[in-house]
Structures are given as C-alpha cells and as structure tokens.
Symmetry: D2
Subunit: 100 residues, 4 copies
C-alpha cells in the first residue's frame, strides 16, 4: 500500500504554479541543473541525497560532470504526491545555495 495517494490533475497544476523551475514530463517533475564543475554538482547531490533519505522519497537522477538531471515521481502511488513536491522544493533550496 502506498504511503500516499497520487494528486489529481487540478492539484498537480496548483502545485506546479509554485515550482517555476520544474516542468511536467511524462507525469514526472523534471529539472535540469548545471554547476561550475563536478565537485560542486556532487556536493549538491549529497545535499539532495540527505533530504531524500530524510523524506524517505528518492529521485531518479543522473549526472554527467557538471550537469544533474532530476525526475521525481512516486512509483508506489503511480503518480505525483505531496512528498514529490516537497522533495522538489528541497532540491530548489539546495540548488539556491550552490548552483548558478
């Protein structure tokens, strides 16, 4: 049983309005970031990893040197949940400290 149930389209739209740096791609929250170099990118990833572990909700993400691509969805709920949006906001907070 999922921890959370998926939000409906209207709820997703309302929450997307507060996430200006994310877009919806294939039903997932999607953001791409670019950093000064690998070390800065990986330090950012560490901060996101700590937030994800605390929330017990983890991103699907990839890294290539200074770039990080993040997708967020709840596989258990089969859609976007409040926790997905909470994780996205924490990614933004982590990025505001470090990305450019």
């Amino acid at each position: 049983m999922p921890k959370e149930t998926a939000l409906d389209d209207a709820e997703v739209a309302a929450r997307m309005a507060e996430l200006s740096r994310w877009e919806l791609v294939d039903g997932r929250l999607h953001r791409e970031l670019r950093f000064a170099d690998f070390a800065e990118a990986f330090a950012f990833m560490t901060r996101v990893a700590l937030a994800a572990e605390k929330l017990d909700h983890h991103p699907d993400w990839s890294n290539s040197w200074n770039r990080v691509v993040i997708d967020i969805v709840s596989h258990a709920a089969g859609g976007l949940t409040p926790l997905c949006f909470e994780l996205a906001h924490r990614v933004d907070a982590a990025a505001d400290g470090a990305s450019r």
Copy 2:
C-alpha cells in the same frame, strides 16, 4: 586537445577481457549495480566520485533508489582511453567493498 587518445579495437578488446562485470554498449563501458538500499548506493557513489575527481575522469551515471547505472567514455578523445578502464577498475574496487 584531448589528454589521451582513444584505444583501437584490439586494445579495447584486450582490456575488456579483464573487466568481467562490464559490457560495451554504444562504444562505452557499461555496468549496472544494485545495492541493499539508497544509503548504500549513495555511499558507493561517493567513493566513485572521489576516485573520478582524483583521476579527473568522470562517469555518466544515474541512480534510482538502490540501483546505479554507470557509463564511461572519453568525450574529449571520442572513444575509450586507458583512463576509462582505470576508472572502471576503481568502480569495481569500490563495489567489492559495498555492493551485493
């Protein structure tokens, strides 16, 4: 100018013989790993990150909870170089400490 030149097919084949857990996919070294959980996966990634930064040669990789997928190629050399294989061996050493 690339730091290294790409190995030719015979050299790649010889080096692949020593990397039993990797396959060649689209001209890249490719390995997929699975860990007990996210924390173990990310600790492994940290160890690889430190090795990559030391070698100044970084993987293209992705993570989804307990899974890590790693691709290695030299974008600068346009192929596989000795450093690509060195990084792959260090990934294996890091995984032997932590993955199952």
Copy 3:
C-alpha cells in the same frame, strides 16, 4: 523539550552489552575506526550521515585521512537515549560493509 529522555545507568549497561565495538567515554558512546584510505573513510561517513539525517540524531565525529572517531550523545537529553544506541548500531552496520 528533548525528543527523548536519558536512559538510566542500568538501561545504558544493558544496551552496551550489545555494542561490543563501543566504549563509554565521558558519558558518550565512543568508537574509533580505521579504513584502507581516505576515500573509503569518507564513503563510510556519507553512509553514516544519511543514517543520522534520517534519525534526526547526529554524531560528534572527526576524520584524519583513514581514521574516523565517533562520539554519540544526546545534547538535548543530557545523556544517552535509545536513539543514541540506534545510531551506534547503524554505524556498525555501515562499517561492516566497508571497514577492515
């Protein structure tokens, strides 16, 4: 108000019996670890950091190349709490994966 209250001496003694690699030093749980090198030590620290953030209980710790020294106590409770022992067990689990 602390999240937890401190355990009394008898409770601490009972729980110490299950933590063979720790000793009580100045009322804190204390363990010293040694790894193959810095990269292995820091990967271990990353795994402990993820556990600590998840528990919302963090160690006082230091690192010098391949050595890590960990002290655990609840500053809020003014003593050792069940969460202190939970963190110590997670440190042991992380170390069993990586230290020698």
Copy 4:
C-alpha cells in the same frame, strides 16, 4: 620522503596574509565554520573531500551538527607546505558557495 618541504616562518606569514578567515594554531591552519544545518554542513564537507582527494592532501577535521572545524598541516613535511595553503583556499571557495 615528503612530497613537499615545510615553508619557513616568513613564507608562512606572507601566505597567511591572503587567508583572512584562518588562524595559525599550534603550527596548523585552523578555521571554524557554521552552516544552516547538518545537511548543509555535510554537503560542504563532501566538496572539501573531493578537493582534498584531488590534491592528495587531507584535512584533520571534525563535525558536530552544523559546525565544522578544520585543521591543515603536512604530517609528512612536519609543517605547512604550499599544498596546505592550496587546500585552505579551496575550503574557502567551497564555503563561499554554501556557508553563511
């Protein structure tokens, strides 16, 4: 044989003039930092770890929740070397991205 020889007092004094946030304590470079929380502190430490591994010169450091204390010296050279100062500058660069 050490990779580097220790700087003499005049050289140390000249280099200290460019490191306003560090002090000399017992012949070591010493700086204390404070972050918003543990996650931010540990992300900073990850960035320093990557720099240290790349330089092959590592700090003696400790962390307690949002605080990080760093000491730098060359044990091999028995004093401060150019690499010690390089590491200190990289710590400052990492901190400028994240600490307050």
